[in-house]
Symmetry: C2
Subunit: 230 residues, 2 copies
DNA sequence: AAACCACTCGCACGGTGTACGAGGATCGTC
DNA sequence: GACGATCCTCGTACACCGTGCGAGTGGTTT
């Protein structure tokens, strides 16, 4: 079996007092946040740490490995609450919202979801907590995994295209009228669509996306809860 | 507003009898299927069409534009059925399965979901059909859009990490015992997880993913259906 | 014949990841 | 103090990338 991943290697180097893996990963996350996935290059990262580009290869086998580490860092930001304190539904709901916020804060991580399996310690931690929540809800056996996958899928699937949308909008100021005109033109071939689509949506797209996310989240949780009542 | 996208430009060139945009896009999809997103380069694509690398730039403004075109090609493969014939639930279920299959067949498209908004004619067609299905179910106004987003999100979110998993597995033959050992080691710090996780899962991961997808799909549809009963 | 046009493509530029091997710094042991 | 060994840095080099530019080619129109 190949399956090369940082997480399956021998324990890391003890790391002396100089540069450390953690420091490098932190700088990478910073650079990724500022310049996106394409903005991260070993040379730029090296410069930011006042080091040569190839010096980093002492701490990290490859750029992909660095991305694996940065990706798990993101998972570490997701906030879990104890289901015993707020109830499983609220706990899951809060976790879902947190996941969305974290991904939107680090848009580059959306690109990595389809490329790297989430095997880092932080990702496993989150997965473990979500499992507990579903267990607290009354799920058992492999259904716990199915339910977790379903909720995670919903959050990712809702958030990832949101990133694309934000990126396409770019830095230009948003103009509701102009956007409406664009949509009207783009969807000219679909009269039914235009007829029922609510063009007021483009007045405050941020708020609508929030609304949409909540709608879907409630629906998914309802659907999952229904599996309990057999 | 910037928002540069192929779809918002003036109608395409008439395209004479020689090389055509369609031909180039088709070759690009073929290359992407064979070598993945990183495997597509203008030089390789040019060679495949026995053309110079930069010749393609006559038909396509930029590589990103080519990707937009290829991406929409994928949307064109998704199969829609008429909700009047099979009922809205079956129609949506079939569409969801089709979307998953198509994305798995073109794994590179998973990476594009987070980068390009789905604005091509084929994507709009699918969106329009899904809207009709939800309309046939009884949804109204912007709730149609919310429900569509929710279902699409579920399908994407379930499928995209599946791509990552397939990619990580690589070409090496799958060994259930070895995989179990790896998982046991990776999850050593999460005793609860190991205790309830079903290790038989690794006997036939393909079948389990299928099962998981169906479970989530039924749940999502149930949750959405519940929104109808106000 | 001349002018225009649609189209092709070689070259060059500035970027990328990273293999390699020569160096420097620091430490343990004699 | 001397001398390896080990840890760590990094300049150079290679193969590749997207694509701007401008020269060239062939067919059609005037």
């Amino acid at each position: 079996m190949s399956f090369t991943s940082v997480w399956l290697r021998e324990p890391r180097k003890p790391s002396g007092p100089g540069r450390s893996r953690e420091e490098i990963v932190a700088a990478a996350v910073e650079l990724l946040d500022q310049e996106g996935l394409d903005g991260l290059s070993m040379r730029k990262l090296g410069a930011r740490l006042s080091a040569g580009a190839t010096s980093l290869y002492w701490y990290v086998a490859t750029k992909d490995e660095l991305l694996e580490l940065a990706y798990d860092q993101v998972w570490g930001e997701m906030a879990v609450v104890d289901p015993d304190e707020v109830g499983w539904r609220d706990a899951l709901s809060a976790l879902a919202h947190s996941m969305r916020q974290v991904i939107l804060r680090h848009p580059w991580s959306g690109d990595l979801i389809g490329r790297l399996p989430a095997l880092g310690p932080n990702a496993l931690h989150v997965a473990d907590r979500m499992r507990r929540m579903f267990k607290a809800a009354g799920f058992e056996g492999s259904v716990i995994d199915f339910a977790s996958s379903t909720l995670t899928a919903y959050v990712f699937g809702m958030t990832i295209p949101e990133i694309a949308w934000n990126a396409a909008m770019g830095q230009t100021r948003y103009d509701a009228d102009e956007m409406r005109a664009t949509v009207r033109k783009a969807a000219a071939d679909f009269p039914e669509m235009l007829e029922s689509v609510d063009l007021d949506v483009y007045e405050d797209p941020q708020a609508v996306r929030e609304l949409c996310f909540d709608f879907g989240l409630v629906s998914v949780l309802d659907g999952l809860e229904r599996r309990l009542a057999t």
